[in-house]
């Protein structure tokens, strides 16, 4: 019998954690002499009350869904993939190569090609750490985080020396051809006299992310591979006894994880900047860890957590625009949420479990 009911684990703990983070953030804002309630209102208005605000919130959320799913899939096999950042960077390279060197006739084909490119490059970048873990026992946390740095250096070299157009100053590729430009929410939802999502970067990739959630759910809970993955995660020796190859599962889990992280770049590189820039991932690979933790490694949870972090990012931008709260402090607020929902999970969980146990004893 579980220590506490399912709903408490899934709903109550994240809510209490969020509340704690909000209270602490409010204190921080008070300490620098601003009004926390006004700041909160500003965040909500800027991120959720205007269609353009939603456009940014969903754009950020799309990134976090992909990287969150990447961490979640690996986590079901008890592999802690913190190399999402590097895998997404390489995914961006895959997108850029697919968009620049293949003459796509239409965006719908281009997004498929670019997704394959992104997934392939992301998966390849995860393959080496996966192989090292499976065959040599090199710890995946160490190798994946080191591969983030190698990815940054590699991308830097490729952009500066090979893909940068002659005479350009930005370390970035040329603009992708017109046919590969993805329809944004503005193109999709605006009518002639009502322009929605004006200027916002959210694009058709969001639906790709929703589809990815569904595919991951089917994969984990409705396929044989997903069962093997979870069995391996719960007990390696038991899985081995049941005839599941640890090497195979480790490599496959990491390949899927890397492919998902890589596909984030379809959103940033193809959907937003329409060229590959050096800093396109902007830490989304790391946010994915918090998203997966908060979403309890379930695709639906990941979706909700990604929306929350999208709101935090867009709300943070609104704060930077309209208040004198410095950008460093906005990062502090975002970090507090990550700290409470991710790292300090047990702080809320343990007292709550005790409380539920005590209540149950009272009943009995």
């Amino acid at each position: 019998m579980d220590k506490m009911p399912q709903w408490a684990d899934v709903v109550l703990i994240p809510l209490i954690s969020l509340l704690l983070a909000a209270i602490l953030s409010a204190l921080v804002i008070l300490a620098i002499g601003e009004n926390p309630w006004a700041a909160f209102k500003l965040m909500v208005e800027g991120a959720l009350m205007r269609s353009a605000g939603w456009g940014y919130t969903l754009y950020y959320a799309t990134n976090f869904i992909f990287t969150g799913l990447a961490v979640a899939v690996a986590f079901h096999a008890r592999l802690f993939n913190i190399g999402g950042e590097g895998q997404a960077m390489l995914g961006g390279l895959g997108v850029a190569l697919a968009c620049l060197y293949v003459p796509w006739p239409h965006w719908s084909l281009a997004i498929l090609g670019a997704s394959v490119g992104a997934a392939l490059f992301g998966a390849l970048w995860a393959l080496i750490p996966a192989y090292l873990q499976a065959k040599r026992g090199s710890h995946i946390v160490i190798t994946t985080i080191m591969f983030n740095f190698i990815a940054a250096a590699l991308l830097n070299y490729v952009l500066v020396n090979i893909l940068r157009p002659v005479g350009a100053m930005d370390p970035a590729t040329a603009k992708f051809p017109e046919a590969t430009h993805l329809p944004t929410f503005r193109d999709m939802f605006s009518t002639a006299d009502n322009i929605m999502f004006r200027g916002a970067p959210a694009n058709v990739t969001f639906f790709l992310a929703l589809a990815a959630c569904l595919v991951v759910w089917v994969l984990i809970w409705r396929t044989r591979l997903g069962y093997e993955l979870r069995a391996f995660g719960h007990s390696e020796s038991a899985a081995q006894y049941a005839g599941i190859s640890p090497v195979k599962i480790t490599v496959i889990a990491m390949l899927i994880s890397g492919a998902l992280a890589g596909m984030m770049s379809v959103n940033t590189t193809m959907g937003e900047s329409e060229r590959l820039i050096l800093n396109s991932t902007e830490g989304a690979g790391f946010i994915g860890i918090a998203v997966a933790l908060m979403g309890r490694s379930h695709p639906f949870g990941v979706l909700l957590a990604a929306l929350l972090f999208g709101f935090l990012y867009q709300g943070g931008a609104e704060l930077a625009l309209w208040t004198t709260i410095p950008r460093e402090l906005i990062v502090v607020i975002q970090a507090l949420v990550i700290l409470f929902t991710g790292a300090l999970d047990n702080m809320v969980r343990m007292p709550l479990e005790k409380l539920f146990l005590a209540m149950r004893k009272g009943d009995a």
Binding site: N35, W37, A38, A39, K41, L42, E45, G46, A52, Y56, Y59, Y60, N156, V160, V166, G167, A168, M169, D170, P171, K175, R198, G199, P201, T268, E272, S273, R275, I277, L278, N279, S280, E282, Y313, G316, A317, A320, L321, W322, T323, P326, R327, I330, V331
Partner: protein, 329 residues
């Protein structure tokens, strides 16, 4: 109850300022941040000077992510900020897409040319100023070897280097110029440790004057030059004060003036390309009490002659970015 009304009032005030049309100007800093002791800080100083002199205020934002470039431009434009000033070439692509959507808003971009009817593009003739400090470096050098340390390896910084070499060779055709770039990514703008190492390497090769065109990295260059007893040349802002008596001069790029002018002109901002060079005071070398003992009368005489010649057009310094080559090495 009173607390509640207070809070509601404050919230309403914030909501009002967020939504109301503001005729005040806005300044957008690039990812490097407002206080970089160099480029962005110069822009901030220009805006603060304007605000102080006219008793007005301006909106500002330091970007956190690439996606915010377009967002900041659009939100300020929609809120009625005018003009909107931004620093750095990285805004070029975004601005050329956003500007046509807001024909009544005026934009000013520094260090980049954007061809739109409502954009003022401010570019600087950095090669002219680098030529002047190159002449001074050659005159101050005893070994006949001088150094150049650039930040990120981009055409703009090669333009600095090329002007500098031309100035050095104009004084001493046999002089050697050692050139190093700190890196190939934006991180090269803020790596004082590597700047210091490069300076030491150049000193070991005989350099006794080093010119840093490297943003925050230059802090390390100037520090090491002062420690090792050689001369250095600062960039963008007047950096002579950082090591009095050890900094020969600074190549000043008056970003502050560019921002001040743009805000001062307000709605009457002239559009088109606005070149700031030696002729109109946009580019100069720094002379103050910290370096007056280092600059000899002969040096000053020759450099001022060159300045006049450049202003009059009789001396043309080759611009690296015009053809991506440099006539001298």
């Amino acid at each position: 109850m009173t607390l509640m009304t207070k809070i509601m009032g404050a919230a309403a005030a914030v909501a009002l300022t967020a939504g109301a049309a503001l005729a005040e100007p806005a300044l957008i800093f690039d990812l490097g941040g407002k206080f970089d002791k160099s480029f962005n800080e110069a822009a901030f100083n220009g805006a603060t000077r304007w605000a102080g002199e006219h008793g007005k205020s301006f909106r500002e934002i330091e970007l956190q992510s690439e996606a915010q470039r377009e967002q900041a431009l659009r939100r300020f434009a929609e809120a009625g900020a005018n003009p909107i000033v931004m620093t750095g070439f990285a805004f070029g692509n975004v601005l050329s897409e956003v500007a046509p959507d807001y024909p009544d808003t005026k934009f000013a971009i520094i260090d980049m040319v954007v061809d739109q009817p409502n954009v003022r593009s401010v570019v600087f003739n950095e090669h002219e100023g680098s030529y002047l400090v190159g002449m001074m470096a050659a005159k101050a050098s005893k070994t006949g070897t001088v150094g150049f340390i650039g930040g990120m390896d981009i055409p703009l910084i090669r333009k600095f280097a090329c002007g500098y070499v031309q100035g050095v060779k104009a004084v001493n055709p046999n002089a050697t110029v050692i050139q190093n770039m700190t890196g190939t990514t934006p991180a090269a703008w803020n790596d004082p440790v590597k700047g210091s190492e490069l300076t030491k390497a150049q000193i070991s090769q005989g350099a006794d004057v080093v010119y840093a065109a490297a943003g925050g990295t230059g802090v390390g260059v100037l520090q090491t030059a002062a420690d090792e007893g050689i001369l250095s040349i600062g960039v963008d802002s007047n950096q002579n004060y950082m090591h009095p008596g050890k900094v020969l001069t600074s190549m000043m790029k008056r970003v502050d003036n560019a921002v001040y002018d743009a805000m001062n002109d307000g709605d009457d901002l002239d559009m088109g390309i606005y070149v700031m060079g030696v002729a109109n005071g946009g580019i100069d070398y720094a002379l103050d009490r910290h370096n007056e003992k280092l600059v000899t009368i002969d040096m000053k005489h020759d450099v001022n002659n060159a300045k006049d010649a450049i202003s009059a057009g009789s001396l043309v310094v080759h611009d690296y970015m015009s053809d991506n080559t440099c006539p001298v090495e």
